[in-house]
Structures are given as structure tokens and as C-alpha cells.
Amino acid sequence: MDVLLRIRRSNPASNEAPRWDEFVADLEPADRVLDALRYVKWYLDGTLTFRSSCAQGICGSDGMRINGRNRLACKTLLRDVRQPITIEPMYGLQVIKDLVVDMKPFFGQYRSILPYLVNSDPAPEKERLQSQAQREIFDDSTKCILCACCTTSCPSYWANGAYVGPMAIVQAHRFLFDSRDQATERRLAIMSQPDGVWRCRTIFNCTEACPRGIEITRRIDEVRRALSFGMPRVVKDR
């Protein structure tokens, strides 16, 4: 079938003004938006620039705004989006070219929340054990693939790029609520900064944009509750 695409083209390195390009691609309804982008690049306009890698929704490379909502191009079926399919880069991160955005600030925010387990106890013979209940409590936030769909859908982040963003809070949650981690106080201190968790306005765009189905706003609220009332006992009892 014929698929009509409207793609936002821009090249800040050159002097060209940004513009909208229209393409018609010949694809199947069960194909993905990524297939359409590849069709354009391979057969119609080789200068179209976008990121992609696994093409199956796990690497997080091809986050972009499709018909006004952030999603992964490889997970969006053509039959599920209305034509003309409007494709533009995620908003809130600097555009490098076409659909490619500068992820450096995003990963900087990731690094700022100490995204690694901190445990200075002597290493056990095998694993550091935890109960199923203790694992369950942060299971949701382990699913994050760092695709940036959430952070670049957040109006608070659009207004102020210094906001640590939903992704960073989810990642902080993953370690905060992990009973094996011992950096709880430091993590809470990072989260309680003015540009930390308190910038969330419960807008819910993040939860709706997440291609992994993480209940982001809920996890952000759990961090805020931990700051207000203390960590839940199931995490504290190691």
C-alpha cells in the first residue's frame, strides 16, 4: 500500500532552513515506521538521517515523535498511525540532523544519579541474595532502555533542561529500591535537589510515551514518598 510520510528535515550545520519533506513509500500495513524511514533512505532520499539498531524495540535508538507522540519507530505499525504520518525529532534535545538528536545531556543526567550498585560489603561467595518481594518492588524500573521518549515528552523538561528528567528518576528508583544497594542516603539527596524529583508536575506524558510500559509517574511518586516518609521497610530490611 502507499504510505504518505511527512518528515521534518533540518541540518543545523548548514545554512538551510528546516523544512517538511513529503514522501510516498510502498509498504505493508504490518510494517513499521522504521521500515518506512529505511524505504525513504534506501530508495528515495539517501540524505535522510536517523538512528536505528536492533529494530525490535529493545535498544532504544529510534525514539522520535510520530504523529505528535514520542514512540519507537521500530515498534509503531503503519496500520496503527493515521496518514500522512508526521515524523519529527524528539523535542528538548538539540537536533544534530533530521531525526537525530544530541543525547549527551540525557546521558549526563543518567550518570548524575549514580547508575550502578553501591555495596561495600565483602563480596559473597555467590550472589547477593534478595527475596522475591524485594525484587518485585523495583522490577518495573529495571525495564528502562534509555530511549529518551519519556524525558523528551515532559513539558517540565522542555521548559527547563536542567530538570533531571523522568528517565533519571526511574533509573534512580531502580537502585534506590534495590535492597542490595547501600547508597540510599546519597541517592535521596541527589533526588531532593531543586532540579530533581520536585520538578515533576504529574503530567503523565512520560508514562504514556514509555515504549516499555513503565509506570514512570508512579515510580517518581514512590521516590517522592520515600523522601517525605522514608524508605519502605521491605527495602530497608536487608
Binding site: 550518570r111 548524575s112 521548559a159 541527589i190 531543586p194
Partner: protein
């Protein structure tokens, strides 16, 4: 945001800071105000209306000290909740540090001034001239 250079570096712990306070206050005061304000609105605009409102009405209502306490409580909570909300909105959009600080101070000043004005009127009551 600068990357963390060593696991030992990091901000000093500020557990119970303004963020927590504001978060809890907006929720607590919000729930209370939902009741206070809706009851107030119903009394002033449904059971009575602006066409029966006059100095006598207010004086009659305030002859019962319970209503004065109610109104004073509602005044303080509503101003605090509303002005804190406006501070949150200002923080979202006014990023320049000096302007942000100025707006925050203006909001605080307005809050204090309005509470004093409103509180004085409630305590002083209706003055028939």
C-alpha cells in the same frame, strides 16, 4: 548537569527540604480546601447569591465567631496554596536566577500582605459607617 566524578562526591543530604514541604503542603491543604471552598461557594452562591449579599449579610454571618475562624482558616490556606502554586508555575518558566528570586520574593510579600489585610478585616469585622 555535570557528571559525577567520584562515588564519594555528591550534594549534602537535604532530606526534609523545601521540596518535601511544598509537596506535602499542596496535597494536604488541597484536600482541606476542596471541602472549605466548595462549602463556602455553595453558601455564598447557591443557598444565597450575590443579589442578597450586603454588609448586613456579612455582619450577620460574622456575628458567629465560628464563621470568622472558618474564613480566617480558609483565607490563610487558600492564599498559601494558591501562591505556592504560582511560585511553582514561576519556577517552571522564569529561569533567570535574579528574576526568579525577585518573583519568589514578590509572591511571598503578596502572601503576607494579603493575609494581613484579610485577617484584619475578619478580626475587625463589619464597620457600619
Amino acid at each position: 548537569m555535570a557528571a559525577v566524578t567520584s562515588p564519594q562526591a555528591g550534594p549534602a543530604l537535604r532530606r526534609g527540604n523545601w521540596g518535601t514541604l511544598s509537596y506535602l503542603f499542596m496535597r494536604g491543604s488541597g484536600v482541606l480546601l476542596a471541602f472549605l471552598v466548595i462549602i463556602h461557594f455553595v453558601i455564598q452562591h447557591v443557598i444565597n447569591d450575590v443579589y442578597t449579599l450586603d454588609l448586613n449579610f456579612v455582619a450577620q454571618r460574622w456575628s458567629n465567631p465560628g464563621w470568622r475562624v472558618y474564613d480566617a482558616f480558609m483565607l490563610t490556606l487558600a492564599l498559601a496554596h494558591g501562591l505556592n502554586g504560582s511560585r511553582i508555575v514561576a519556577n517552571d518558566y522564569i529561569l533567570h536566577p535574579a528574576w526568579n528570586r525577585a518573583v519568589n520574593l514578590a509572591i511571598l510579600a503578596a502572601g503576607l500582605l494579603w493575609i494581613v489585610v484579610g485577617g484584619t478585616a475578619i478580626i475587625g469585622g463589619v464597620r457600619f459607617m
